[in-house]
Structure formats: structure tokens, C-alpha cells
């Protein structure tokens, strides 16, 4: 054992080595999946979003504590001035926001102007970049789409050509002209792909085939320090950031917790934490053991780990005793089941097809799914717009309720007779088999198993098709998936972002059930032009009811987001839209290692 001790001693010596030079407060965080490119235009996953949100800044952001969420100015001086017809937005920037120093600026500080935003938004339309985020502004801003079209023809995107819809009144003032009424643009502008990047940086490091994704230069509170791809990301405080002070009001539903947070944090400089160390850990066991052994300060308690820390939605006593804090919120997310309206077996508005779909919906035990597949970490949802999103109706009563006996009777009535082998056939005697598609991973298997139970309850044969994500997406855009469980996370917390999932005009994009109904489309188009309010909510209720009545889709649940924090973390509360809240919190470590 001599040798072992020697190694252990060496290891300790090595571990102690960097400790001396670390007076800054450090927060350690774990991502459950690897990050991708740090180019806002190319971001597609929320893991990368964490980092982008810290490095880059959007015009708008959200109030830390306000619930339901409230838009707040980011680099903009104030909320936008929207014209009455909802077609024109006037935006003013705060002065004195600077990009972090970079050789691209020739060593001089470089102030942020509206031209940076205009440039960043143009990039989304550059065909060479093939940004997955162009849809955020697609068809919205006057003249912007035309610029992209022109580039496809000439092969070169002309960034210098002005866009009529993006009127730069002065370096700090921008007026956006929209092609149609849209009251949600403010929330869209808070989405991190629309953050400002500097043209000099992009041109220095190279776009598209270049390496700008490895050189993120933003105006945010943090800048990129050490980066071992796919393993370790260190963010350091941007000491040149414009001074900000923690000043938020407790929200009504936040109660005592919010009061405490305000008490602890009010008046402090933003940020308090000077260094964020993020490690990527792919395995559940590794993550959990890391957190419980104190190697992480904030912990995203996802999926399968929830029962380890939670009991009936509350922190387990042994963790509570250690002072671990739980912050729990519902993700602005809708999980729903759809049945393809163009599928020869399931689709169509004929009564026996509606009966078939509704019978299936009635035979599915959503609560069992929540309990078994999600370990209880979701809230049953009857309305297509989840809580915390504008337009949600907590009082909406579902039409489709779990009642397998009734469902079977309904099928009997419509001639789906059971054969000698115990399986039902179509009314015309042809075999009845329904394909349920799921992703090729653990959760996909579980869901398929659950659905198999549902179909077994009805005496319907189910075939499980498991595909990789890209193939599912491809098949969905072609209306080739018969039925699936689909999850939609809000891009912006407005009901419009959810109702568009069923809009006939979005078939081939994300109306994956390929649902098309003239009444629904008409109501959706009307709601799209309205500002939020009771009038729009009423329309949403009719739309939700129609979906249920026709058995096109059934809302299922929204998942909880559970964040655990070590006792040393101060002022933490999970925000439903923001990926992370690092700049709003503090940490107090007695044994600063």
C-alpha cells in the first residue's frame, strides 16, 4: 500500500496546486450534454444556450423574480415602443455597453450599437450559414427575407445592403418595420440567437466554414476562459461590463422565498460570482455522485435522477438536513400526443376515425406515464398552452378523460370488432395496426412500452418504430409519422408559440400531426393578430376544444424543472425561460478550496 499512499499524496499535492491563485468566487455547474458551437446564429440546443446567454446579450431579457415572466430591458434602455397596429417597434440602446477586448478590435474598446444587432440578424439569413434560427424573423421584417433570396441567387450575402425594415435612426436607436401585426416581437428579441455579435470578430475568425464559433466575443457579464471541448468550460467575469446592481421585486407567488432572496441580494453588484466552472457529464450516476460529493454547486436534477432527491415533489429529508435547496418550476413546455390526420388508418374527420382517435386518447393513462416514465416530474396538462405562458387557462376542463371501458364501448359501436385472436379489425374487416414512433433511446423505449399497454387495453395491435431523431424529423415534415409523443419547449412564453403547432399553414414545418381544419386556421390567424387578452384567450379555448373533439391531439403534461443548490448558494431561484441565473446569485463558501 506504500505505492498507493504515494500516489494519493501526489494527487493531493497536485489538487492543492491551483488553489493558491483563486480569490474569486467560483460556481461549479454541470451540463448533462456536450456544448456545441458558441455562435449565437448556429445554436440549436439549450445546453449551448447556457453559455451563449452568459457571453452575449440580447436587447431584452426577463425579470429575474417576476412570475408570470415579465420582459425586461437587456442592452435596450427600455421596453420597445410598439405602434398601435403592432407593426412598428422603436428600440433604444443603453449607452456604454462594450464588447470584451479582442484582437479583432485592434486593442481598442468597441461600443455596442444597433448596427451590431442588424448585422447579427442579417447573418441568420445568410445561406452559407444555414442558420437553424432564421425562422425567428422569417417573413416578419420588411426586406430582410429578400436579402437572403438575393444571396441565394448571387451566391454572396451582401451585408452592406440596407434593409428597409431595419431602420437605424442613430447608433443607439432602431426602428423595426414588420410585415404584419406581431405583439410578440419583444419576446423573440429576448431569444439568444438574436444577440449581438461584432462584425469585426466574425470577419476575423471566419464565418460558416470558419472558426468564429470558437471565439465568442460578446458584451455579456461573462467571457470565455478555459475551454476543453465537450468537457470543461470556464467563464470569467467581464470586468468591463456596464455597472449593474441587483434590484428585483419579489413576485406575488414567490412568497417568503422571494423575500429572502431580495433581502440577501438587493443592492449587490452584478455579478457576485466571478468565475463559473462548467463540466460536461453525460452519465446520470456520475452527475449525481458529483453533486452529492460536493463537486458541484448548482445541479440540474433531470429525469431519472429526480426520485433520488425528491419525494412527492419535496426535497428528501436527508438532503434538506444538509441544507440543500430545491428550486422547482414548470418548464414552459407542452408534451402532447398527436395522431396523423393524413394517415390512412388514423387520419381524417370521418366519425369512425374521430371515434378511433378519441378512444385511443381515452385509453391512455397519462398519470401513469407521469408516474412511471417521468418519475412524477411533470404536471398533468389539459390545455395546449402550459402554465407560465401567456394564454394558459388553469380552469380548462378536459373532454378526453381516462376511461378505457368507455373507449372500448366506443370502438365496439363504430364497428372495430374484435377478432378471434382478441385483436380488433377496421370496420371493413381489414387488420388494424397502429404505428407509434419514438426516439431510439431509453425514454423512447419507456414511452413505447406505455403506449403498447394503452393499445393492448383496446385490443389494438401496436407497432413500435424507433428511429434516430433526424429521421423522425424528416418523416414528420413529410407527414409520415402515424402517432408520436411530441415535446415543444417555448421559444417565447406566449400561447401563439404553442397554437401554431396545429396551424394548417405549418404542415411540413412543425404541425407534425398534419392537422388542418378551416375553423381552427381561421381562429389561429385571428388570434395571431391580437394582443394578449381575454378575447384571444376565448379563441384559444375554442381551438383547444376543437382539437380534443376531433381527437387530433391530446395535451399531456409539462415537465418540472428541478434545480438543486448547495447550502452555500445564495439568492437562487430557477427562471422558467432563462437558461441560467448565474449573474443574479451569490455564493458563500467557507472552505474556499
Amino acid at each position: 500500500m506504500q505505492g498507493f499512499n504515494w500516489i494519493a499524496a501526489m494527487a493531493l499535492a497536485v489538487a492543492a496546486w491551483p488553489a493558491a491563485a483563486e480569490p474569486v468566487k467560483t460556481l461549479r455547474y454541470i451540463l448533462p450534454a456536450a456544448e456545441a458551437s458558441f455562435d449565437p446564429a448556429l445554436t440549436r440546443d439549450l445546453y449551448t444556450g447556457h453559455i451563449l446567454e452568459a457571453i452575449f446579450e440580447t436587447l431584452y431579457t426577463y425579470d429575474y423574480l417576476a412570475r408570470p415572466v415579465k420582459l425586461a430591458p437587456g442592452t435596450a434602455a427600455a421596453l420597445p415602443e410598439v405602434s398601435a397596429d403592432g407593426k412598428s417597434y422603436l428600440i433604444r440602446l443603453k449607452k456604454g455597453t462594450y464588447f470584451t477586448p479582442d484582437p479583432a478590435f485592434g486593442g481598442k474598446p468597441r461600443e455596442l450599437t444597433v448596427a451590431d444587432y442588424v448585422y447579427s440578424w442579417k447573418r441568420l439569413f445568410d445561406p452559407r450559414l444555414a442558420s437553424p434560427n432564421a425562422w425567428l424573423l422569417e417573413g416578419k421584417v420588411v426586406g430582410l427575407d429578400a436579402l437572403g433570396e438575393q444571396a441565394k441567387k448571387t451566391g454572396r450575402f451582401d451585408y452592406d445592403q440596407p434593409v428597409a425594415g431595419l431602420e437605424q435612426l442613430d447608433p443607439y436607436t432602431l426602428r423595426i418595420h414588420l410585415t404584419q401585426t406581431d405583439f410578440n416581437l419583444g419576446m423573440i428579441l429576448a431569444y439568444e440567437p438574436l444577440a449581438a455579435v461584432a462584425r469585426e470578430v466574425v470577419e476575423k475568425y471566419g464565418d460558416s466554414k470558419g472558426d468564429v464559433g470558437a471565439h465568442p466575443v460578446g458584451t455579456g457579464v461573462y467571457k470565455l476562459g478555459q475551454w476543453i471541448r465537450g468537457s470543461r468550460i470556464v467563464l470569467e467575469e467581464n470586468t468591463h461590463h456596464r455597472p449593474e446592481v441587483w434590484d428585483f421585486q419579489p413576485s406575488a407567488e414567490g412568497g417568503a422565498d422571494d423575500e429572502r432572496i431580495v433581502r440577501q441580494m438587493k443592492g449587490k453588484k452584478i455579478p457576485q460570482i466571478g468565475r463559473i466552472e462548467i463540466s460536461v457529464q453525460l452519465e446520470d450516476q456520475s452527475r449525481w455522485l458529483s453533486f452529492t460529493s460536493g463537486e458541484a454547486d448548482l445541479f440540474w436534477l433531470d429525469g431519472p435522477l429526480a426520485p433520488k432527491a425528491l419525494l412527492d415533489g419535496k426535497l428528501r429529508p436527508e438532503l434538506a438536513a444538509r441544507g440543500v435547496q430545491l428550486s422547482r418550476s414548470i418548464d414552459p413546455e407542452l408534451t402532447y400526443y398527436y395522431w396523423n390526420m393524413r394517415d390512412p388508418v388514423l387520419g381524417g374527420l370521418a366519425k369512425e376515425k374521430i371515434a378511433l382517435r378519441r378512444a385511443i386518447a381515452m385509453a391512455h393513462d397519462v398519470d401513469e406515464e407521469i408516474r412511471l416514465v417521468l418519475n412524477g416530474e411533470a404536471r398533468r396538462l389539459n390545455f395546449p398552452i402550459p402554465p407560465g405562458v401567456v394564454g394558459h387557462d388553469p380552469h380548462y376542463q378536459p373532454l378526453l378523460r381516462y376511461d378505457p371501458a368507455l373507449a372500448n364501448k366506443l370502438l365496439d359501436r363504430y364497428g372495430y370488432k374484435k377478432g378471434a385472436d382478441g385483436w380488433r379489425t377496421l370496420p371493413d374487416g381489414k387488420p388494424l395496426e397502429i404505428t407509434y414512433t419514438s426516439r431510439n433511446e431509453a425514454a423512447g423505449v419507456l414511452m413505447a412500452e406505455l403506449w403498447r399497454k394503452t393499445y393492448n387495453r383496446l385490443g389494438i395491435r401496436m407497432l413500435n418504430q424507433r428511429m434516430i431523431f433526424s429521421d423522425i424529423q424528416k418523416a414528420e415534415t413529410l407527414c409520415k409519422i402515424a402517432s408520436r409523443t411530441y415535446q415543444w419547449l417555448a421559444d417565447y412564453p406566449d400561447g401563439d408559440n404553442f397554437m401554431q403547432l396545429f396551424y394548417g399553414g405549418n404542415i411540413g414545418q412543425n404541425n407534425n400531426g398534419c392537422y388542418q381544419d378551416a375553423r381552427f386556421d381561421q381562429w389561429f390567424e385571428a388570434s395571431h393578430r391580437m394582443p394578449p387578452g381575454p378575447e384571444r384567450d376565448a379563441l384559444y379555448r375554442k381551438m383547444a376544444r376543437l382539437l380534443e373533439a376531433q381527437g387530433a391531439a391530446m395535451p399531456a403534461y409539462s415537465r418540472y424543472r428541478n434545480m438543486l443548490a448547495q447550502p452555500s448558494v445564495i439568492g437562487y431561484k430557477k427562471h422558467p425561460i432563462l437558461h441560467q441565473e448565474w449573474k443574479y446569485i451569490d455564493i458563500e463558501r467557507k472552505d474556499q478550496k
Partner: protein
């Protein structure tokens, strides 16, 4: 010697071509359409067509194949579809962590394997020998997944002997702090099959006539084993160790995933999960090339060990 190496390299070309064709067939022909992953959540037909154009997957197959061959020849596989990182950079940076674990692991495994194999061969046929062999068989029959889960939970978490996972910036920190437990697990998993294999190598040699001669000379059993037998058994041992190395690079992916080691194996799995074809293609081709080069290296090493081998 030089002529031999040149000739061997020349002979690798058809194999390499086969690997390239196979990889091309798998990914460009059978593989799914990457455009849908990259298009994001609001994909429409037009943006997908644009992505396909940017990736070059809308070209005829022979053009794609030619591009692929050019990429291999120029060591430039372009950028990862998922992260935009140059593929060459991915391979260069992930190799270090993998080797930090694998080289000590291989060295220890080989040394311990040889020592134990010789020790067991001393008592061949005895009860100890049989018990050790059965223990090895039992050890081999447990999935590596279980070793990792249990060792990480037990040694790192419960006993706190090792960090649960992690990877640092300095080589020594990585080697002495973070790699220790993965190496221990790797050893626990691999020592049983290695011991069995090496034992059979040693016993094969121990039955040879020259061993009888050595004993007839009055040499001690230790010298017979460690000098006469080992030197001959080294030939299959070298073959085994060398041919295992490139495969181990990928095979250690479970260790790398569980312990957060940013190595090649983990990268491959990540790429598979993200359908990041350029990365998988590049790694496959390079690992295949490495395998072939290692085979050549093995043959060159034979010459040093075995005078009967004439490389011509």
C-alpha cells in the same frame, strides 16, 4: 528495411480504399439525412434544401466520394456538423486524454498480466491454477457497465478514494488524480482476459523442447520462465497488446463517459448521438489507418524480438 516499410505501406492502399468505400457506403448511402438535424425546430423544405447544398450531400454519389477521398488525403475533414469545430482539431485534442488513460492502463495491464501469467504457469495444473482461472472466467462474465457503476459508487463516492469524475488542465493532475480510478477499473476489467490469454501463451511456450533443454542445463525454474519462456512468449504478447491499442481507443468509451474524460471514445459516442457524420467518418478512417500502422509497427518489433523474422 526501408524497402520493406515502403512495400508494406504500398500494400495498405487497397485495404485503405476498402475502408474508405465501406465508410462512404455506410454514411453517404445508408445513413440518414443530416439536414433535418441541422435545420432546427422550424424546418421547412427550403431551408433543408439550403443545408443539403451547404453540406454537399445533394451532389451525385461519385462526386461525394471524390470529395471524401480528397478530404482523407488532405487530412481535412472539414467541420463537425454539430459543433462547427474542425474535425482535425477534434481528433488532435481528444487523443491526449484518451492516451493519458490508455497508455498507463496498457502498460500496467501488460506488466501485471505477464507477472501473473508466469506466476500461474509456475503452478500450472494445480488447484491454485484452476481456481485462478475460474475466478478469471467469473470476472470476465460480469459486464463492464456493472464494474464501472459499482466501482464509481463504491470507491469514489462511498470511500472517497478518488474523485467521482472530472478532467483538469494539467497533464499530471489528469494522470495522477483523474485517471487513477478509470485505470483501476480498466485493469479490473481487462486483467482477467489478459491473464488467461497470456497464460496460454506462456504455457504454449513452456511445452516447447527448448524449455526442456534449459532445464537440462540446470537453470532455475525462475530463469527458465523469465528468460527463456518469456522472451518467446513476448511475440504473441506484443501482437496482442499492439493490435488491441487502436481498438481500445474507441473501446474505452464507457470509462470516458462515466468519468468525464474528453477522449476519442466519448467523442465517437457523442457524434453517433448527434449523427455528426464527418466526425465518425474521420475517426473511423484514422483509426483504421492507425490499426494498419500498428500492425506494421508490430511486425517491425518482431524483428527486434524474434531473430527468425526476416523483413524483406
Amino acid at each position: 528495411m526501408f524497402a520493406y516499410i515502403v512495400r508494406r505501406l504500398w500494400q495498405m492502399l487497397p485495404t485503405m480504399l476498402g475502408v474508405v468505400l465501406l465508410v462512404f457506403f455506410l454514411f453517404n448511402w445508408v445513413g440518414g439525412d443530416p439536414a433535418y438535424i441541422l435545420a432546427g425546430k422550424m424546418a421547412n423544405a427550403e431551408s433543408i434544401a439550403n443545408i443539403r447544398r451547404q453540406l454537399g450531400v445533394d451532389q451525385p454519389y461519385y462526386v461525394q466520394l471524390w470529395i471524401f477521398i480528397q478530404q482523407i488525403a488532405s487530412f481535412d475533414f472539414g467541420l463537425s456538423w454539430a459543433t462547427g469545430e474542425p474535425v482535425a482539431n477534434i481528433i488532435a485534442t481528444r487523443l491526449g486524454p484518451s492516451l493519458t488513460v490508455l497508455i498507463p492502463l496498457t502498460v500496467l495491464e501488460t506488466v501485471i498480466g505477464i507477472a501473473l501469467a508466469l506466476a500461474v504457469a509456475f503452478v500450472r495444473g494445480s488447484l491454485t491454477d484452476r481456481v485462478v482461472m475460474i475466478a478469471c472466467t467469473v470476472g470476465m462474465s460480469v459486464s463492464i457497465l456493472i464494474y464501472i457503476i459499482v466501482f464509481q459508487y463504491g470507491l469514489a463516492y462511498k470511500l472517497g478514494w478518488f474523485p467521482v469524475q472530472g478532467w483538469g488542465g494539467s497533464f499530471w493532475e489528469n494522470l495522477l488524480r483523474y485517471s487513477t480510478l478509470p485505470i483501476v477499473i480498466g485493469l479490473a476489467v481487462s486483467i482477467a482476459p489478459t491473464l488467461r490469454l497470456f497464460r496460454s501463451f506462456v504455457l504454449d511456450e513452456a511445452g516447447q523442447d527448448y524449455v526442456r533443454t534449459a532445464r537440462a542445463k540446470g537453470l532455475s525454474e525462475r530463469r527458465v520462465m523469465w528468460v527463456h519462456v518469456l522472451r518467446n512468449a513476448a511475440i504473441p504478447i506484443i501482437t496482442h497488446v499492439m493490435s488491441n491499442l487502436p481498438a481500445l481507443l474507441i473501446g474505452a468509451f464507457l470509462l470516458e463517459r462515466f468519468f468525464g474524460i474528453p477522449g476519442i471514445g466519448r467523442e465517437v459516442i457523442l457524434a453517433v448521438e448527434r449523427s455528426d457524420f464527418p466526425v465518425i467518418k474521420a475517426i473511423t478512417v484514422y483509426v483504421a489507418a492507425a490499426t494498419m500502422l500498428f500492425n506494421l509497427l508490430t511486425d517491425l518489433m518482431y524483428q527486434a524480438v524474434d531473430p527468425r523474422v526476416q523483413l524483406t
